[in-house]
């Protein structure tokens, strides 16, 4: 049903037609729908799930047990990798379950899903990494996971609103500004193409280094 012309028309009211064409023409529709939903959930899910990299341990002073045994850089980088692995694992697990369901319910599901599965997994993981880095920045500023999540969500939403408002006056400028927050590459990933994905992935290290350096500058100087 997801791949027929009527559904495509309705979806095009909400989603970019290019994305609909890439996701729902010649692919397993259930799996494509899952991919779209998963990509859309990444910002909010990661902002919440990655909020406690260092925040609670700063608040409870648990880091004071760690600093005689490992330096701050190891803690900061270790927590970033830990959060990335944990959240990636969650997405990989859910994606495999979605793939199995899609294989069972879609026509030619097995071959279509198997063809897309690696690209979907890589795209999801690459897309979420900058959000984890963004939260490692938020997490070093405050002293609790709740505050860190609130800060991350607030900054993200405020930036979205600012970009939208700027977009009314100047679309080109808004597009440039939108690269401040990490979801600017979502459109490329959603087209489910190795070429587009690789293009978008070039920004991942830039986001990680930018957010990471800012976070490290604060964490290395702050009282714990």
């Amino acid at each position: 049903m997801l791949s027929n012309a009527e559904t495509g028309f309705i979806l095009s009211l909400f989603i970019d037609p290019k994305v609909i064409q890439s996701l729902f023409v010649g692919r397993a529709p259930t799996f494509s729908a899952y991919f779209y939903l998963a990509m859309s959930s990444v910002p909010m899910f990661v902002l919440l799930a990655a909020s406690d990299q260092t925040a609670n341990d700063i608040g409870s002073k648990y880091l004071r047990f760690l600093t005689p045994r490992c330096n701050r850089l190891e803690i900061f980088v270790g927590r970033f990798f830990g959060a990335t692995i944990l959240i990636s694992f969650a997405y990989i697990l859910v994606t495999i379950i979605a793939a199995l369901i899609s294989m069972a319910v879609d026509n030619n599901g097995v071959s279509l899903v198997l063809a897309d599965l690696p690209l979907v997994l890589v795209s999801l993981v690459l897309y979420l990494i900058p959000f984890v880095a963004f939260m490692s920045l938020c997490s070093v500023i405050v002293g609790s996971a709740g505050l860190s999540a609130l800060m991350g969500v607030s900054v993200y939403v405020v930036m979205l609103v600012i970009i939208s408002v700027i977009g009314i006056k100047s679309k080109d400028f808004a597009e440039v500004i939108s690269y401040i927050i990490p979801n600017s590459t979502k459109f490329q990933y959603l087209q489910l193409s190795w070429v587009k994905m690789m293009g978008a992935s070039l920004l991942v290290p830039i986001y990680v280094v930018a957010y990471g350096l800012l976070g490290w500058m604060i964490f290395s100087k702050r009282d714990i």
Partner: protein, 307 residues
């Protein structure tokens, strides 16, 4: 190699507009136990946290074993008991101690044994499978102390190691610290000056965020030339003149109201009868006392100095 284990130079720390510590120049000597004392708000925990690298100096510098705090070369060479830090609530304390030992470089099997060893030192072997939520405040304190004893550090920093512990456990912890002090430099902050007097050879006194003095405990306690009395009630000022009338008495100090203390210093050439003469004088003037200690305790000495 420097004889000092910690050196500070113009160290200062402010929180907002408030200076918690100002211009601290202090050298902590190697291979002894040093106490860090002072009244509330003197800056003890702030100075301790600067030593540990928990806080970053606003001005000046601090060197631990010739390195900045947080330096990778200090890993495993210093151990810290932080005052208010909480252990993780969901992981058994034994596992947490094992993880700390592994972070200090112990292999997995040896780390388990090391965790077991330090838990035994604080008499909590039976609690290794319990989580922080299942332990009392005193037990958590002992676990926190245990983590500071992991490995063979060159320097152990203990912030209020006996606060919140019952007398029996305090004695046990003091005895462990005493045995460790034979091979390790130790720094202790405490409000309990009896602990400092029992364990430390050197004492750093802070007052209102500044270094007040850095002296040997033995210089502060004048063990052989004074008697300290705990009286039934606060002594009247007239006792001063009564005692001073004795030829052997050189100085009389009265405690603050409520302390019920009296310290009598006498001349060093007074001989063995001096103590008897002073006690006799108190009896004749109908001043009963509950306890008498030879020498002036650190408590009186520090209180006296801090005004």
């Amino acid at each position: 190699m420097s004889e000092n284990i910690i050196e500070t130079n113009g160290l200062a720390k402010s929180f907002g507009n408030q200076w918690a510590l100002y211009n601290i120049n202090v050298n902590v000597k190697k291979d002894i136990t040093t106490g860090l004392v002072g009244p509330n708000g003197a800056g003890k925990t702030t100075l301790f946290s600067l030593f540990c690298g928990f806080l970053k100096p606003t001005k000046g510098s601090v060197k631990i074993l010739n390195h900045e705090p947080d330096h990778p070369l200090l890993r495993g060479r210093i151990s810290i008991l932080p005052q208010d830090a909480s252990l993780l609530k969901t992981i058994p304390v034994g596992k947490q101690l094992t993880m700390f030992a592994e972070l200090q470089g112990f292999k997995k099997r040896l780390a388990v044994e090391e965790a077991e060893r330090v838990l035994e030192m604080v008499n909590l072997s039976s609690s290794r499978h319990k989580t922080a939520d299942q332990l009392s405040h005193g037990m958590l304190k002992r676990i926190a102390i245990a983590q500071a004893f992991i490995g063979t550090p060159d320097l152990i920093l203990l912030d209020e190691p006996t606060a919140g512990l019952d007398p029996g456990t305090t004695d046990n912890i003091k005895s462990v610290i005493r045995s460790l002090s034979k091979n390790t430099s130790i720094i202790i902050t405490s409000h309990n000056l009896e602990v400092i007097e029992d364990l430390c050879q050197q004492v750093i006194i802070l007052k209102e965020g500044r270094l007040h003095s850095d002296e040997k405990v033995s210089d502060l306690t004048a063990r052989t030339k004074a008697l300290t009395f705990r009286l039934e009630q606060d002594a009247d000022n007239s006792i001063r003149s009564v005692l001073k009338a004795l030829d052997i008495v050189t100085e009389v100090k009265l405690g603050k109201p409520g302390q019920h203390r009296l310290v009598v210093h006498y001349s060093s050439d007074a001989g063995q009868m001096a103590e008897i003469e002073i006690i006799k004088c108190l009896a004749e003037n109908n001043i009963p006392y509950r306890e008498m200690i030879r020498g002036e305790r650190l408590q009186e000495s520090v209180t006296d100095r801090l005004g």
